[in-house]
């Protein structure tokens, strides 16, 4: 009995001495449940709606008001011509559009089927289906609210909505998943490469030799990052070929731009690995830390599986700091929408800023080592 007590006490001491692991063990399930719980919520409550109304009349205004008061839609633009929708969709300003045709009220009043077009951005198929049914429900509600008929025996008013999906008309989920998967895999591999190779140098003692040498911290980091950047870049090319040949994901935009963004994203991940290695002393720890710190956020918060738009405000803010979130948007934009830097510069700027912050921090972490 005493020996067992001793044994339990000893284990307790292990845990107490290694506070960091203990904290991870306790905090991890809490964080995971929180993240999964919120992230898996797939309802959408802030649909960015554009309206094309070439000839506003009483009925179009009434239906537009219904959309506005539904609580789900936020009107981002009202335009006159369908052509004006293009940039709104390309930049992601609008997720969905309703397009009216002249004579909407007249058709309704006479019982002629009134035409209406509902266009939905389908780069995220699950969200798109939801948006589609939301819009349909608003239209149906409006029709039901109309007086049954003005003059018997005129037919009941009808709206015949046409439905169209943009960018991914066939709802190919591989089109959605592959760019996300690329982001996911690249970040893990890249972070692991630097984290492990730096902690290996710490373990073997060669890091000390480098620190004693006249090399400056940034030189050590550039020396580490450069070869792995090249390897990472080869991976980018390989997975893009794979995406094309195996999953038939289109590449509608510029290949050069996509490769550049891929390189930038790899750089971010490599810098992240360096930062992890600065805080860990063994390869084993570095590997666990890297896997935890890259896998979870990149599954949950990058928009890879769960749309960032349907997350609560706090998580959306957190997602700003996740490089994968920006790369997923960029990769989908270039591959599926065929857009370029004119729309993707904010995301690119975010990625570049994260890279700058992480690289600066990793140089700092080297200076700190010389306490």
């Amino acid at each position: 009995m005493t020996s067992l007590r001793g044994l339990i006490h000893k284990e307790w001491l292990h845990i107490r001495r290694d506070r960091r692991t203990a904290a991870v063990l306790v905090a991890l399930p809490v964080v995971q449940v929180l993240l999964f719980g919120y992230a898996i919520r797939t309802d959408v409550d802030d649909v960015r709606l554009a309206v094309v109304d070439p000839a506003p009349d009483s009925a179009t205004i009434a239906l537009r008001n219904r959309f506005a008061s539904a609580g789900v839609f936020r009107n981002v633009a009202v335009v006159r011509r369908t052509e004006e929708l293009e940039p709104l969709f390309g930049s992601g300003v609008a997720q969905q559009a309703i397009v009216f045709y002249p004579g909407f009220a007249q058709d309704l009043g006479q019982g002629v089927p009134a035409k209406l077009l509902i266009i939905t951005d389908a780069t995220e198929p699950n969200t798109a289906s939801l948006l589609q049914s939301y819009a349909q429900a608003v239209v149906d509600g409006y029709v039901r609210s109309l007086p049954a008929s003005h003059a018997r025996p005129a037919p009941a008013p009808r709206i015949v909505p046409q439905v169209r999906m943009r960018f991914n008309p066939t709802h190919e989920s591989s089109n959605l998943f592959v760019p996300g998967l690329i982001a996911f895999v690249l970040t893990i591999i890249s972070s692991l490469m630097t984290a492990i190779s730096l902690t290996r140098e710490k373990e073997t003692g060669t890091m000390e030799a480098l620190l004693v040498s006249p090399l400056r911290p940034w030189e050590i980091i550039v020396g580490k990052v450069t070869p792995y950047l090249a390897i990472g870049f080869v991976s980018v090319v390989a997975v893009l070929i794979e995406a094309r040949l195996v999953f038939h994901v289109p590449l509608r935009g510029s290949v050069v731009l996509l490769l550049f963004e891929g390189g930038l994203y790899i750089l971010v991940s490599l810098a992240f690995g360096i930062l992890i290695s600065a805080r860990t002393s063994s390869q084993r720890l570095a590997m666990m830390g890297t896997l935890l710190a890259t896998m979870l956020p990149n599954v949950l918060l990058s928009g890879f599986i769960f749309p960032v738009e349907s997350m609560p405000r706090a998580l959306q803010l957190l997602a700003y700091a996740i490089p994968g979130r920006w790369f997923v948007t960029i990769a989908r934009g270039i591959m599926l929408k065929g857009v370029g830097l004119e729309y993707l510069w904010p995301q690119t700027l975010f990625l570049a800023s994260i890279a700058a912050v992480l690289l600066t921090a990793s140089v700092r972490s080297f200076n700190e080592r010389l306490e």
Partner: protein, 245 residues
């Protein structure tokens, strides 16, 4: 004073409440082989790590190779070599590749590197193993190679932190021949060791106890001063003063 290779004045390092090195002052002359002795935890490694710029002193000052440690760390780093108790070569690289790497890090030209490599390989008798991975060499060979690599840029001072631990007596002997070679070529050597017979090989030694230098001088002078037969005996007496000698 500016002549001395190392000049430490009241050098101190604290870790929280614990004072690992407590106001030590000493000088090492150019070309001297200076032994740093002390029990585990006496502060030897902390002292060395301050002198090579891996640790910031909490107090005191030091000049290394004529440069101020606090303000000219770059110049200090350029003029010293270091070999730690942990192996500091890349085990998956060959001896030739390791020499080339460190030569490049210390800014040698390609010609200098080629020339030094051949010299070093010949002197070590490594010509036949120059191109096989370092990890497949015996420990003693690796230590000799590590020492030579620490000297690749011909530093004015070389710091050796327990370079011979775990090495057989014959290789230790050969290792000390390399140390003497370096010293006679004008390189100052500061070496820590656990082996008391090695202490006798040093020009001068200092014995650290609990962060302070308890005794310093030539081995012969110290033995006379403390009336002991060997450094071993002196070491035990200083390290455990509560016990009757």
């Amino acid at each position: 004073m500016s002549d001395s290779a190392i000049h430490a004045h009241e050098l101190t390092r604290r870790f929280g409440d614990f004072t690992a090195v407590d106001r030590i002052s000493f000088e090492v002359e150019t070309g001297e082989v200076f032994g740093f002795l002390g029990a585990n935890g006496a502060g030897k490694t902390t002292a060395i790590r301050m002198l090579i710029g891996l640790l910031q002193p909490s107090g005191g000052a030091a000049r290394v190779a004529g440069h101020d440690l606090a303000t000219e760390s770059e110049a200090v780093k350029r003029s010293i070599g270091y070999m730690s108790q942990r192996f500091s070569l890349y085990e998956d690289l060959t001896p030739r590749e390791n020499i080339r790497l460190y030569g490049g890090i210390y800014g040698l030209t390609r010609d200098e590197i080629r020339q030094r490599t051949e010299q070093m390989l010949a002197r070590l008798g490594f010509s036949e193993v120059a191109d096989i991975a370092v990890r497949s060499l015996p420990l003693g060979w690796r230590q000799k190679l590590a020492f030579s690599v620490a000297l690749v840029h011909q530093p004015r001072i070389v710091f050796l932190d327990e370079p011979t631990s775990g090495v057989d007596p014959i290789t230790r002997r050969q290792f000390w021949e390399l140390i003497y070679d370096a010293a006679s070529a004008g390189t100052t050597v500061l070496v820590t060791t656990h082996y008391m017979d090695e202490a006798e090989y040093c020009d001068r030694i200092s014995i650290m106890v609990a962060g302070r230098i308890a005794a310093m001088g030539t081995p012969v002078a110290l033995k006379t001063q403390f009336a002991v037969d060997s450094i071993d005996e002196l070491f035990v007496r200083l390290a455990r003063p509560e016990q009757p000698a």
